[in-house]
Symmetry: C2
Subunit: 185 residues, 2 copies
DNA sequence: AAGTGTGAATGCGTTCACAGCA
DNA sequence: TGCTGTGAACGCATTCACACTT
């Protein structure tokens, strides 16, 4: 794998934990990058995908909520490595406002709208309790954010032009517990 | 909604952000709980579902990795509320071993196997760097854990009898960035 | 010979639509 | 009449299989 100029769909599949047919189908959705009998040029494929997925650019992110989850997100290195930069963290609790999380100062949630207008972040991460989530989503959407990643364990609604994805850790655990209960069948 | 003895699939759908047909189909998978023309008895449905999903019981959980994500998980109230109890947190870094996270002492990763044999946790949460994840999964599986929730951004393999689910936050952000790049089409 | 790209077959979850029961 | 429970239709993603290219 090291030093290969070229890589086959089968090798990519093994790395990604999927099948060769899947890899070819997925790539063909974006275009035709491979050579028959040979495989894909590693460098050409890599740069094409970076381009297509928008990973070349830097994406500015604001985190709403500086509790346990918000703090973990602010300090997660995986984001920075992939071009996601945390430009703001917000909380409503005065005890948290003014503190710093990995170099970013926690700001008052009342500044949210004006900061979003100014910083124009591309993505907002919602890390507040379930009850507060919809209200805050509405606020960041109204201020201009078009992409939201929700960590609150509640379904949210957004206008059609806004992209919303949700991560629900408690639900994942419940699915596991269901699998455990029904293991012997 | 408050004080209702009974609730229709349409009302449940609105709360859950889905459709009435979806709700009826999902519930019918487990059995037949509703009354035609009336809806579902809130209390009966609630207790049946708790039973079926295994939410009545307590599930013991170990967290492998006491870094940023492991710490956030250890302190996440959402788990305790739903019957998931953190019975152990493990790390290999001596600087972290012996510290406490929300009342649970961080133990040496070398104790992992013997503790699992003793505590018999139902679920393991993997919160270590991608490179170490597969090794640790293999270790907890070998020690007897049957359900794993993975937070490391890498595909993992487990034996068939083990249930594995993965949460990949960086991937979620990349999907959002792709949506943003292709917004105007 | 090796391995892509893609129509066709398959599987699965979601939506539709309605018969039947309270 | 109201709303469930469920077969049938549908849509979409995954898998198969093979003609075609280098």
């Amino acid at each position: 794998m090291h030093g290969h100029q070229t890589i086959s769909s089968g090798e990519l599949a093994a790395q990604g934990g999927t099948t060769s047919a899947q890899v070819r189908k997925d790539l063909s959705f974006f275009g035709s990058f491979g050579k028959r009998g040979l495989g894909y040029s590693v460098s050409a494929l890599s740069s094409s995908l970076r381009e297509i997925l928008g990973l070349g650019r830097q994406w500015n992110v604001v985190i709403v909520g500086a509790g346990k989850i918000g703090a973990a997100l602010a300090q997660y290195e995986g984001f920075r490595d992939r071009g996601f930069k945390v430009v703001g963290v917000y909380d409503e609790d005065p005890a948290r406002v003014g503190g710093t999380l990995d170099g970013v100062v926690v700001r008052d949630q009342r500044e949210l709208e004006s900061d979003i207008m100014k910083l124009k972040p591309h993505i907002a991460l919602i890390a507040v309790p379930a009850e507060a989530a919809q209200t805050l989503v509405d606020r960041v959407v109204k201020a201009g954010v078009r992409a939201i990643l929700n960590f609150a364990p509640t379904p949210l609604t957004v206008p059609e032009k806004v992209t919303l994805r949700s991560v629900n850790m408690a639900l994942e655990l419940e699915i596991l517990s269901y699998a455990l209960v029904n293991a012997g069948e």
